[in-house]
């Protein structure tokens, strides 16, 4: 894979246990990944059945990265994501019903149908939203960090964006100010190697993300984003450091998207072999293997996890299907406060 281990662990602080969390939590994290996987598959069906429309992006293949990092946050921490945000919402604990209903554009959705797939919000869970504009959410993430510093809070903000987003000016401007002002933000570059159909090597003069971000005065780490427990261990450490040290850190999580970029995808930019190669490191399989090796999971456990996830997802789809559309007068509400 050529994934460099995260520097944090290289630098000596080896883990005592192979798991960064207790055994119950370890299985729960795995189950959360299952939920996201099945949710995305169900949502894709919903798109095909025209229940869902607009631009639509799933995170299949990236679940370890999503769950590993988000599970390391505290309830009072904050999140900013891109448009590829369903998995992040579920990882943060938004009910599958609300997320699915939002995708369906229903009154019961997390934003009552007004946001849609790219724009999941949940103020009470500090889920500050998905921006559909590449790189558009990065200044916002820094701004949340700014407010946390201003308010002397010990919360932090985790700000997610893709490898393509590092080429937007917003990335550059926001990271510089975050570094300059020491804002408590964990910048997470979800490097799935492609910005839509463009490989990082065709978009970045310096494809190595941790080098690309050298000009902002912050420490930079890289983690194997396919390995749930690797990600979680790194996130534990780095979230903790951002929290304690009150300064930003840049984390590249190297991952891969198994699905197309969006609902439509030409597929012309990568080979079937490459995809297959990566699927061998499916984060669900990797985590399952680890948990089996530690005797925390067996066939029955896997089946139960699947069944549970499937039930939740089916329930979410049914709920969404049966939910009403927004009231027409909602068209004019909440334009202004």
């Amino acid at each position: 894979m050529g994934v460099k281990k995260r520097k944090a662990l290289d630098s000596g602080e080896a883990l005592l246990s192979p798991l960064p969390v207790n055994e119950v939590d370890a299985v729960a994290l795995y189950r959360r990944m299952q939920l996201i996987r099945l949710f995305e598959e169900e949502a894709a069906k919903g798109f095909t059945r025209t229940r869902i429309a607009g631009y639509f992006h799933t995170c299949t293949g990236e679940e370890a990265s999503v769950v590993g990092i988000i599970s390391a946050l505290r309830e009072d921490d904050y999140l900013v994501t891109s448009y590829r945000d369903h998995g992040h919402a579920l990882a943060r604990g938004l009910p599958p019903r609300e997320v699915m209903a939002e995708l369906y554009g229903r009154r019961t959705g997390s934003s009552h149908g007004k946001g849609g797939s790219m724009h999941i919000f949940d103020a009470k869970r500090h889920f500050m939203g998905g921006s559909g504009i590449v790189g558009g959410g990065i200044p916002m993430g820094a701004g949340i960090g700014f407010a946390l510093k201003y308010q002397d809070s010990d919360s932090i903000c985790a700000c997610f964006f893709g490898d393509g987003a590092v080429n937007e000016g917003t990335f550059h401007e926001a990271l510089n100010m975050a570094g300059l002002w020491k804002l408590p933000v964990l910048f997470v570059c979800e490097n799935n190697l492609y910005g839509m159909g463009t490989h990082v090597s065709r978009a970045n003069a310096v494809p190595e993300m941790t080098e690309r971000a050298a000009g902002y005065g912050m420490e930079r780490f890289k983690v194997d984003g396919m390995d749930l427990f690797e990600v979680r261990a790194a996130a534990d450490e780095l979230v903790g450091r951002v929290r304690r040290e009150r300064r930003p850190i840049f984390l590249e999580s190297l991952t891969y998207r198994f699905s197309g970029h969006g609902a439509h995808d030409s597929g012309k930019y990568r080979s079937a072999e490459e995809v297959e190669q990566w699927k061998k490191r499916d984060p669900l399989i990797l985590a399952e293997d680890t948990l089996r090796r530690l005797h925390l999971l067996d066939d029955a456990g896997v089946e139960a996890a699947c069944a549970e996830a499937k039930a939740a997802v089916d329930d979410a789809a049914r709920f969404a299907e049966q939910s009403p559309m927004p009231d027409p007068k909602e068209l004019y509400t909440n334009v202004y406060a």
């Binding site: 429309a53 559909g132 504009i133 000016g169 463009t198 927004p326």
Partner: protein
């Protein structure tokens, strides 16, 4: 005459101009290896090579500016914005640089470039991705703004735009991409700045452009059944605006409905209406009716989106008001009860 889709008409114009003039090149996100987000440039990279079909990083401000610099050197860049919404991150390069270099240098430079891509609401693209922004661009001198409604115009006007020595904002419409129509072969005349009468009529003038032209024609059909013969004027270009064709029509019909798909407030329809009043005040038997989107960020939910944007019925209602000469316009054509 061969029938083409709007999308293929655009593709043909690009192909032919690329073939005809080695100074023409294309630049944009995923136009090459991916084959184009909407497949408009499928095969181009293979045919013309990566010197002339340039996949870019996600850096709109940067590559619009690069294209502008190349245009100063006598090249003829055709920049694809994946969607026109992303012009917002490149606005300064477009309006404060490309549009002004010729004037500020008093004619020492020409800026022969086209910025093109789809705009407008398609199907639930939600608030950040449903702009067309013609009102902004056309407000700014130094730019030309073209918005074709038919395959024939899509091809002809794009060819003219590429041959034009000024920065041209060429706003396609995603909802028109798969519409079909006859497209003449060869180098037919299609000047920028000339409106077209799409349907003659004596009772009422309906002014529309882009996606609303077919909608207006539909509305006209319905109105005809009631005995109201509407003349439909397709503006085709917003800047320069062919107000003469509009005025001639209104002189004949004495009533007008002006339609635009984006927000009405300080929009194209306000300009067209103002000029009608200014130039044909005594010919008007009723106030000009404006039809446009509800003044809200476009909501995702299907029913709300439908309510927000103009349709046949909003044009028909406006026509009725204009015919009855009701003095007080009812606000956005689609205001809910």
């Amino acid at each position: 005459m061969p029938e083409l889709t709007y999308k293929d008409a655009i593709r043909q114009a690009l192909l032919e101009e690329m073939e005809a003039d080695p100074a023409v090149f294309m630049m944009g996100e995923d136009i090459g290896k991916y084959q184009g987000t909407f497949m408009i440039t499928a095969g181009f990279l293979e045919k013309f090579g990566d010197r002339r079909v340039v996949d870019t990083p996600i850096s709109e401000s940067g590559f619009v500016g690069i294209a502008f610099g190349a245009a100063l050197m006598g090249l003829r860049p055709v920049v694809e914005l994946m969607t026109i919404n992303f012009s917002m991150v490149a606005m300064d390069q477009i309006v404060n640089h490309a549009a002004k270099w010729r004037y500020m240098s008093d004619g020492q430079f020409t800026v022969p470039m086209v910025i093109r891509g789809p705009g407008g609401p398609v199907s639930q693209l939600a608030a950040q991705h449903s702009h067309s922004l013609e009102s902004w661009f056309a407000h700014s001198p130094g730019l030309k703004v073209v918005m074709p409604a038919t395959p024939s115009d899509a091809k002809g006007l794009l060819r003219t735009a590429i041959r034009d020595d000024n920065p041209v904002i060429f706003i396609e419409h995603g909802r028109l991409y798969n519409t079909r129509g006859e497209v003449p072969e060869g180098d037919y005349d299609c000047p920028i700045g000339k409106a077209a009468i799409r349907r003659p009529g004596r009772d009422l003038t309906i002014v529309a452009y882009s996606s609303l032209v077919p909608v207006a024609l539909n509305a006209a059909k319905t109105l005809a059944k009631e005995g109201i013969e509407a003349e439909v004027v397709d503006l085709r270009t917003i800047s320069p605006l062919d107000i003469d064709t509009v005025i001639q029509s209104v002189r004949k019909t004495n009533r007008a409905v002006v339609c635009q798909e984006e927000w009405k407030f300080i929009g194209v329809a306000a300009e067209v209406a103002s000029q009608i009043y200014e130039k044909a005040f005594d010919d008007l038997d009723a106030p000009v009716e404006r039809v446009g989107a509800a003044d809200v960020p476009l909501p995702y939910a299907r029913n709300l989106e439908t309510l927000a944007i103009p349709n046949d019925q909003s044009i028909i209602d406006a026509a009725h008001r204009a015919i009855r000469g009701i003095k007080k316009s009812a606000g956005p054509g689609i205001r809910v009860a």
